[in-house]
Amino acid sequence: MFNLLHRLSSPPSFFAFAGRALPWLLGGALLLIAAGCYQGLVVAPADYQQGDSYRIMFVHVPSAWMSLFIYMVMAAAGAIALVWRIKLAEVIASASAPIGASFTFLTLVTGALWGKPMWGAWWVWDARLTSELILLFLYLGYMGLESAIPDKRSAARATAILALVGSVNIPIIHFSVEWWNTLHQGATVTKLGAPSIHPSMLLPLLLMAVGFKLFYFANLLVRARCQMLEREQRSHWVSTLIKEAA
């Protein structure tokens, strides 16, 4: 198992593997997101309190989950890069940052669009919203720090430390609605006990969540392959690849 992982993490085999996995991931993502949109916008019933406005949840909640998940991937990849100095881990952490920042931005925007009609405010400084905004700044800071250091390998080390330090924000975001009084409601699905959402509404939510996850992996592989080529441009396997393509 460890051997297989080790072989897969070498740049040329990762490049080939990612290229093969890409169409499957992208196809699965599009299929699931299309099914989720249909289920969420057409099939699922209106909410007893919020009417049709709640449907923005099918974008907002999966985006929010992704914003946390991608940061955890970045922190874990950063830790691996720091300890074992594996190039693939550096590339994955770095390629994840813009995707995570986009999902965080999407979470904040859809949250504001949902908040105005339901709460009566686009934005409030409660613990959940504020900690999610800090997450966006962490992503942006990560990308800024990375582009400020010309050498890729030292940039990877510096950003890995930032990602690890910032990872304390992740449990804060998740538990903010329990630890403090917030305007944002508590967890519906990611809590102990049964989800407090009707199955007809849970289905599109889960479809979208898995669809978003596959979309992230597809996007990640595209970016990671591209970065790998850039970093390895002087290596033998890249020049063979170019010769084959020519």
């Binding site: 339901m118 709460w119 009566g120 009084n181 409601q185």
Partner: protein, 152 residues
């Protein structure tokens, strides 16, 4: 694991644990400021700031909403089950504002104990269901505990 890698692993574990402890201590120290609103019981106990704006959160008590003749001023009572605070607000209310609904009002406490709100936000819960299911749940609950302790 080479000794060097073990050392690096320990180092970053220490870093994350250290930052985690620092964040915990900081958020405990700022506990008061992290609260988005005060409940009526906290207000009556004198925990809420006096003479400046703060947020009051709770449920709108059933049957307490009274609209004044001008159509904009609304009086209602916010309750947390333990205590109640009367609130007056002049302005547009969010769609979700209704009896039994969670609200968060920003404003100040007058000397007569009335809370003059400048802004009223509705808080919704984490439950999502179709109207028919909500209706069925309500009927089931009503049948289970007939009249006892239920506000009419």
């Amino acid at each position: 694991m080479t000794p060097k890698r073990t050392q690096r692993l320990l180092l970053i574990t220490g870093l994350v644990v250290g930052v985690g402890i620092a964040a915990t201590l900081a958020s405990l120290a700022f506990r008061e400021n992290m609260l988005f609103f005060f409940a009526p019981a906290q207000v009556l106990a004198g925990d809420a700031p006096v003479g400046r704006n703060f947020r009051l959160g709770g449920l709108v008590e059933a049957g307490s909403i009274q609209r004044a003749g001008d159509g904009l001023t609304v009086d209602f009572i916010v309750s947390d089950g333990a205590a109640t605070v009367p609130v007056r607000y002049k302005g547009l209310l969010p769609d979700l504002f209704r009896e039994g609904q969670g609200v968060v009002a920003l404003g100040r406490l007058e000397t007569d104990g009335r809370f003059m709100a400048e802004e009223v936000l509705a808080k919704h819960d984490e439950n999502y269901m179709p109207p028919e299911v909500a209706e069925a749940l309500k009927t089931a609950q009503d049948n289970k505990q007939p009249l006892a302790g239920r506000p009419m």
